[in-house]
C-alpha cells in the first residue's frame, strides 16, 4: 500500500514540476503571431492547391498580410470570399478576372488520326517521350489523362481520348497546365465562352492530313469579328482574351467555322459527350 501512495505522490510531483516548466516556457518563449493570418486562413477556401504560387492557404494568408499578394490572387476563392477577406483586413481589392483552364484541342479518337500503335505506360508525359506519342498531330491532346489525374478538383474529364475541362468545376489553379507535355492547356477568362480548339502551328494542309477539326487559318472568324478579337500567329488563329470586348456566342452561330474548331464551350462538351455515348 505504501509503495502505491509513494508512486502517486511522485507522479503528481513530477507533473507539477513539468507543468510549471511548460508554463514558464510558454511565457518566456512566446512568439507573436499576427492573429490576422489565422483569420484570413479561415476565410480562404483551404484546399491548399498551390494555384497562387504559395505552399498552401496559410502561406498565402501570410503573404496577404505582408502585402505581397492581393486576396484576389487566390484562383479558388469566389468573389464573395475575396471581398470578405478584404473587408476583414480593411483593404481594397481590384476586380480580378476569374479564369478557367481550356484544353486547346478538339482532336478526339474519331477526329484525330492515330499513326502508331502505342503499347506503353498510360501517361501523357511517358507517351510524349516515345516518338512524340501515338497521335498524328504533334500538337494535339494525347488523351491519356495526365492532366485529369493532376487536377485537384476533378474538373477535367477524359472523353473519347480528349481532355475536356468542365468550367463550373475548374478554379483555374493551373496544375494541369504544368502537367501537359504538349503545352496545349491555358487559362482563359471565365466569361469567354467561345474558343478555337486547335494549337497546331503547322500549315493547314499538313493539319488536315492528321485531323478532321483543325484551325486552317481561313480567317472567316477574323473577318466576322471586330478588330482585336482574334490573334493570328502563323497558321493558327486564337481568340484574344486580352481585348475589351470578348468574342460572344453570336460569332459561333454566324461564322459556321468550316472545320468546326471554333466552338462555344457548351457545344464543345456536347459534341464530345455525344460521340462518347455513340462509342459506348
Amino acid at each position: 500500500m505504501e509503495i502505491f501512495i509513494a508512486a502517486v505522490i511522485a507522479m503528481a510531483a513530477v507533473g507539477i514540476v513539468l507543468g510549471a516548466i511548460i508554463g514558464i516556457a510558454a511565457k518566456v518563449f512566446k512568439v507573436e503571431v499576427d492573429p490576422r493570418i489565422d483569420l484570413v486562413t479561415e476565410l480562404l477556401p483551404g484546399v491548399n492547391c498551390g494555384g497562387c504560387g504559395k505552399a498552401g492557404c496559410a502561406d498565402f494568408a501570410k503573404s496577404i498580410i505582408e502585402e505581397e499578394n492581393s486576396p484576389s490572387k487566390c484562383p479558388v476563392a469566389s468573389q464573395e470570399q475575396v471581398s470578405s477577406i478584404a473587408k476583414a483586413l480593411g483593404i481594397e481589392v481590384g476586380d480580378a478576372v476569374k479564369k478557367v483552364a481550356v484544353v486547346f484541342c478538339g482532336g478526339d479518337h474519331n477526329q484525330e488520326k492515330i499513326q502508331t500503335l502505342y503499347n506503353g505506360v498510360n501517361d501523357c508525359v511517358s507517351a510524349s517521350l516515345i516518338a512524340g506519342g501515338p497521335k498524328g498531330c504533334a500538337y494535339g491532346c494525347l488523351g491519356m489523362g495526365s492532366c485529369a489525374r493532376s487536377c485537384p478538383f476533378n474538373a477535367i474529364e477524359m472523353v473519347n481520348g480528349l481532355a475536356i475541362v468542365h468550367p463550373h468545376l475548374c478554379v483555374g489553379c493551373g496544375a494541369c497546365i504544368d502537367t501537359c507535355p504538349r503545352n496545349i492547356i491555358d487559362l482563359a477568362p471565365q466569361d469567354a465562352k467561345v474558343h478555337i480548339y486547335c494549337s497546331s502551328p503547322e500549315k493547314g494542309a499538313a493539319k488536315m492530313k492528321v485531323c478532321a477539326v483543325p484551325c486552317i487559318a481561313c480567317r472567316k472568324c477574323v473577318k466576322a469579328g471586330e478588330e482585336d478579337q482574334f490573334t493570328i500567329e502563323g497558321f493558327n488563329i486564337s481568340v484574344n482574351y486580352e481585348t475589351e470586348k470578348l468574342v460572344d456566342k453570336s460569332i459561333f452561330e454566324n461564322v459556321k467555322c468550316p472545320t468546326g474548331c471554333l466552338l462555344t464551350e457548351a457545344e464543345h462538351i456536347k459534341i464530345e459527350e455525344a460521340q462518347n455515348s455513340e462509342v459506348a
Binding site: Q115, L117, G120, S126, L129, I130, A131, A138
Partner: protein, 441 residues
C-alpha cells in the same frame, strides 16, 4: 588480346537472336545518287546549328549549310551538289516534326572547296580539335554528341586513356563491324589523331569477340600506331561508354559523373573514321555507314548513305521488302527509335534501319511486379529497376532521384528480362524528364 571470352562488366543481357549474320558479310556499298536529299538541320545534341543558306542557293558537295550554334554544336554540310529548293518541316527521327533543307541534286556530285589537309603528327592539338568541329563530327554510335566537346575537358581534368568503341553490341547492326574490316587504317589513324588531340598515348579499341575477323584485321595493323586491341565479351550494353571503360580499364565512372572524371574519353569507331577524313583529307562529315537490315529486307546490307537520304530510298537500295514489315526502327532494336513515317531521313547518328515483321514483335500486356529481382541482376548501372519503377508509378520522383534514377542509361536490359513485361525504361525516361523539369524551376 586477353582471354578468349573477352573482358566485360557486371550485369547486361545476351539477346538470344542477334541477327548480325543477316548483314555481317555484306561489303559496304556506295548508294546511288538520288534526285533529292532532305537534310535535317539539327543532327547533333546541343544547340541547333544556324542556317547560312537560303531557298534558291546553289550548293557544292561539302559546302556549309549551317554553322555551329554554340560550343556544344557542330556545323552541317551539303551531302551533294545541287540547288536548295525549299526549307520545310519533315517528320523527325524522334517523332516530332523537324526543320530540313531540301536539296535537289544536280547529278554532278561535285565537291566544293575542301579544307586543307593537315599533317596531324605535327599539328597543334587545338588545331585538330577545331578541324574536327569544323567538319561537323559527332558521336556516330547513336548519341550524336559533338566530338570536339568530349575532347575538350576543363583544364583540371587530365585525360590519360582513350577508348574507341567498336563493340557494336546492338543486335542486327553491322555497320561498325564492316567499317573495321574494310577500313582498318582509317579507324586506327583516326584513333591516333584523337590521341594526339587530347595528348593521350594509352589508346584502346574495344571489339566484341563475335567479330574476330575485325579484331584480326585491326591487330595486324595496330602496332604501327601503338594502339591496343581488346576483345570484349559478347554482351549488351557492352558498347555503352561507362561499361566499355569498366570492362577495359576496371575504372568506374562515379554517380552523376562523366568518363573525363576518371581520365577517360570514349569515341565511336565511326567517328574516328570521320575524324581521319576530316583531318587527312579535309572532308566534312556528309555521309555515314548504315546497316539496312531485318528479316523483311530482301538483301540485308551495309550502305554508305549521304545524310538526308529518306529511309524509304535506303530500303529500296537494299532491294525492298519481301514481306510486310510491321515495325521500322532507326538504330538498333535495343536503343533505336521506332518510326511512324518513311519520310524520315538519315542523320549523322543513324547506325541502322531495321525492319521487323509481324510475328517478330509482340504487344505485351504489362502486369504487376513479382519481385523476382531479375532486373537487378541485369542492370549494368547497379540500380534497382523494380523498386524505382514502383516509386515512379506513384509519382514519388524525389525518392526515385534519391535512388539514382538519373544514372539510368536507358539500355533496356531490365525491361528485356522482366517476366511481367513492365515498361521499366519508359518509367525511367519519364522520371528523368520530370526531375529535370523540377530542377530547372
Amino acid at each position: 588480346m586477353s582471354k578468349s571470352k573477352g573482358l566485360t562488366f557486371k550485369g547486361g543481357i545476351h539477346p538470344t537472336k542477334d541477327g548480325k549474320s543477316l548483314s555481317s558479310s555484306a561489303a559496304i556499298q556506295d548508294a546511288p545518287l538520288l534526285e533529292e536529299y532532305q537534310l535535317i538541320i539539327q543532327q547533333n545534341i546541343g544547340a541547333p546549328p544556324k542556317l547560312v543558306v537560303a531557298k534558291g542557293d546553289e550548293v557544292k558537295k561539302g559546302q556549309l549549310i549551317a554553322e555551329a550554334g554554340g560550343f556544344v554544336s557542330v556545323p552541317l554540310h551539303s551531302p551533294t551538289s545541287g540547288k536548295i529548293t525549299k526549307i520545310d518541316n519533315i517528320p523527325g527521327p524522334m517523332g516530332v516534326p523537324v526543320q530540313a533543307v531540301f536539296i535537289a541534286a544536280d547529278g554532278e556530285d561535285q565537291w566544293g572547296e575542301l579544307m586543307s589537309p593537315m599533317d596531324w603528327k605535327t599539328a597543334e592539338p587545338q588545331a585538330i580539335k577545331d578541324r574536327i568541329r569544323d567538319a561537323g563530327v559527332v558521336g556516330m554510335g547513336g548519341a550524336a554528341f559533338p566530338t570536339h566537346v568530349k575532347l575538350s575537358p576543363p583544364p583540371e581534368k587530365k585525360l590519360n586513356c582513350l577508348i574507341l568503341n567498336g563493340a557494336e553490341c546492338e543486335p542486327y547492326l553491322t555497320a561498325d563491324h564492316r567499317l573495321m574490316i574494310e577500313f582498318p587504317e582509317k579507324v586506327l589513324e583516326g584513333a591516333a589523331i584523337l590521341g594526339r588531340a587530347v595528348g593521350v598515348t594509352d589508346i584502346y579499341i574495344g571489339v566484341e569477340v563475335n567479330k574476330m575477323d575485325a579484331i584480326d584485321t585491326l591487330l595486324a595493323k595496330a602496332d604501327k600506331y601503338g594502339i591496343k586491341i581488346v576483345g570484349l565479351q559478347v554482351k549488351y550494353p557492352q558498347g555503352a561508354e561507362k561499361h566499355l571503360i569498366s570492362a577495359i580499364t576496371k575504372r568506374e565512372v562515379p554517380t552523376g559523373g562523366l568518363p573525363m572524371d576518371i581520365g577517360c574519353v570514349v569515341q565511336n569507331v565511326g567517328s574516328a573514321a570521320a575524324v581521319t577524313d576530316a583531318v587527312v583529307e579535309g572532308k566534312a562529315l556528309i555521309e555515314r555507314i548504315t546497316t539496312v537490315t531485318g528479316v523483311p529486307i530482301k538483301n540485308p546490307s551495309n550502305w554508305r548513305l549521304k545524310l538526308g537520304t529518306p529511309v524509304l530510298e535506303a530500303i529500296k537500295f537494299a532491294g525492298g521488302v519481301v514481306c510486310e514489315p510491321a515495325k521500322i526502327i532507326l538504330g538498333g532494336p535495343m536503343m533505336g527509335f521506332a518510326q511512324k513515317s518513311l519520310q524520315v531521313t538519315i542523320t549523322k547518328n543513324s547506325s541502322g534501319i531495321l525492319l521487323m515483321k509481324k510475328d517478330e514483335i509482340t504487344q505485351y500486356q504489362s502486369v504487376a511486379c513479382i519481385r523476382c529481382g531479375k532486373c537487378v541482376d541485369a542492370c549494368p548501372m547497379n540500380l534497382q529497376p523494380g523498386s524505382l519503377s514502383a516509386a515512379i508509378e506513384s509519382e514519388k520522383f524525389d525518392l526515385a532521384s534519391k535512388n539514382n534514377v538519373m544514372d539510368c542509361v536507358e539500355c533496356g536490359s531490365c525491361a528485356y528480362v522482366c517476366p511481367s513485361h513492365r515498361p521499366l525504361v519508359q518509367h525511367f525516361r519519364r522520371s528523368k524528364a520530370e526531375i529535370r523539369k523540377l530542377t530547372r524551376k
